[in-house]
Symmetry: C2
Subunit: 386 residues, 2 copies
């Protein structure tokens, strides 16, 4: 299969390239290095060392993964999007090239607008380029479980049967996101659903949980790390907790810590995406996958990191709750369904505890590097003025 | 009350300015004349003659309406938005300054992107400018009944109580729009709901039906026409049917003509907006009004125009169904609720038949002008390649 990965330089994009090339697929990728630049702007960098794209491509070759065709450019530029779709003529495009930080989108109007415009326009460009230049291409688009918010009812996969005032329909589940970033993903989902309806494009819309982990099998074998962010803007919760533990800092849940979300290891993320690619939707089908392993509260994750770190490394770790920079419920019902990927064969390969141990072991090798970045970990971005 | 109308040069914006000034409110307005330019680009113009903004403002004064403060500029420019909010310090802002044509948004990627970006950014600019510079200002935002699509269940006003798998919640009603334009309004509604949640802004989100009519009372008294578009891109269905009738052209429903939508006279539109302004939401309240009078099928409207024209003008009119340029259901359930405005006192002032008669009488005075524009009426914009 020929797969084009938009955002191939990113945390998931790079891991997915390794996995798909290892599986024997022909992989091309695009990136404009937006995340690298923006992470530098907050004074941080990837906590695990990564090379330049040219260096990464050479390492891929010398590690026996083969040749990755790379397009440098911005997918929110329509000409660039049309060019790479035309040149790559992929069987599938995986769209991971959006601004992916909720805090970044909440810094101010400039960042809100930047996130809103670039994310939405990139997906618009994609559906038009596919319609015009490669209409049979499977669009695999990364959304987020955060699109759903935290309703007091079960969360289905995209659509649900509803009875209201005695009549029935099968409708999109109401979304209720918690940052401008998360809303762009809702807007994208709506736009994809419409593009599918009008032009019969084949779309998988992935509502992904929070991804954690330092490695997939291919990284463990080769040391070809993917990026791993720990700062308050670009890092995510469990990855940050592990970095805090190994560098001797308190583990800092936001607020009460009762916030519950769907999580999955990086290993599972690329496994699920490969499953979706190898089991494409039917012609003109729009399908939604809730892609996560299990739901955990932030408090539970903090406790697991603390306990595993103390047990395995023989040092103590502290949990310290801090004011929540976000506007979100800190205690709520949460019951999302994740059956579609399981029906296609997805089973989680590792337990949370195993994966946390791997993370702590991998990060332990870079403690001085992580300590240097530790000033970027505490929140400086607030949903409303504190 | 001090009211700032964004899009004051438009069909509803101008009418609302007349109404509010007549009621004694202090009105300022902004416009960048986008609609005038785009209507010229499709070879058309307003079927009813309107002056330049400078001329309109002079006519307002000489007709005893008083002084309208006008800001020329683009509300998708953040600096401009902040400047006018700061200078006007309004009690309420009415946001009518978005690209409002579904066909325009479906011409191609350039127009889709233009619509998506400008509409969303203008509303983002508005919420940030109000939050930062005038946080007590009531935001009255025009959305569309088209945000809901045509579900097989009743359509509530924005939110509904839902029971699913034995649990209950009060959630936003799922939206399902029919063009990029309509989706921008969904995205706006979602963004407004979020801005309200995070910053406690006071918002009225108006889901307006299709507006028809040549006049409100103030126009009938003064002849200060508002714009009236009849071309395939910028005109709307009933206004176009009346123009077709008076100029001796067939009345052309799209497809089977069973499409049913909420409609309201222009007179009712400004009445409803004035009611919403004089009965603002509570501090930090986000409320949704479904703003329409009655739901009609396209076929019913075509038949009413034909019958009234033939009866009153003694000439015959033909109804001719044409291929539907849109992708939409041509026969469907449609039962939207519109109670919120009625609870505040809204009652429709005129029947559909009375309003159609007024329209035909007003347009009858400009038949040569309308005949000149008649080449722009038939569809040239298609949702999918025909």
């Amino acid at each position: 299969m020929k797969v084009l990965i938009l955002g191939v330089d990113g945390y998931i994009g790079w891991s997915l390239a390794l996995r798909l090339m290892k599986m024997g697929h022909t992989v091309s990728g695009a990136d404009n290095f937006f995340t690298r630049r923006r992470v530098r702007e907050v004074g941080s960098e990837s906590a695990l060392p990564i090379g330049t794209m040219a260096g990464r491509i050479r390492e891929l070759e010398s590690s026996g993964f083969g040749d990755l065709e790379f397009f440098r450019g911005d997918v929110s530029n329509a000409d660039f999007m049309y060019r790479i779709i035309r040149e790559a003529q992929p069987d599938a495009v995986v769209h991971l090239a959006e601004q992916r930080s909720a805090p970044y989108s909440m810094i101010g109007l400039k960042q809100a607008t930047d996130t809103m415009v670039k994310n939405i326009v990139s997906t618009l460009n994609l559906v038009y380029a596919v319609k015009d230049a490669a209409p049979d291409t499977h669009i695999l688009k990364l959304g987020t479980m955060g699109e759903y918010g935290t309703p007091n009812i079960d969360i289905p996969e995209g659509f649900f049967d509803i009875e209201y005032n005695g009549r029935k329909d099968h409708l999109p589940f109401p979304k209720n996101a918690g940052s401008w970033y998360h809303w762009t993903k809702v807007h994208d989902s709506n736009n994809l659903m419409f593009a599918n309806r009008v032009w019969n494009l084949s779309v998988t819309d992935v509502m992904q949980g929070v991804v954690y982990g330092t490695r997939i099998d291919e990284i463990a074998e080769t040391g070809l790390y993917t990026r791993y962010d720990i700062d308050e803007v670009w890092g995510t919760v469990l990855n940050r907790f592990c970095a805090q533990a190994v560098s001797g800092l308190p583990i800092t849940p936001y607020g009460e810590g009762g916030q519950t979300r769907g999580f999955l290891p990086l290993e599972d993320s690329v496994t699920c995406l490969a499953i979706a690619l190898e089991n494409p939707p039917g012609d003109g089908e729009y399908r939604v996958f809730n892609q996560f392993d299990k739901a955990y509260s932030v408090n539970y994750l903090a406790e697991r990191v603390k306990e595993i770190y103390e047990r395995e490394f023989g040092k103590s770790a502290e949990i310290r709750h801090i004011d929540n920079p976000r506007v979100e419920r800190e205690s709520h019902y949460y019951h999302p369904v994740n059956e579609n990927l399981k029906k296609l064969g997805y089973r989680s390969k590792r337990t949370l505890d195993e994966e946390i141990l791997h993370m702590l072991q991998d990060l332990q090798q870079f403690v001085p590097r992580i300590r240097k970045l530790s000033g970027t970990i505490m929140p400086r971005t607030f949903w409303k003025a504190p």
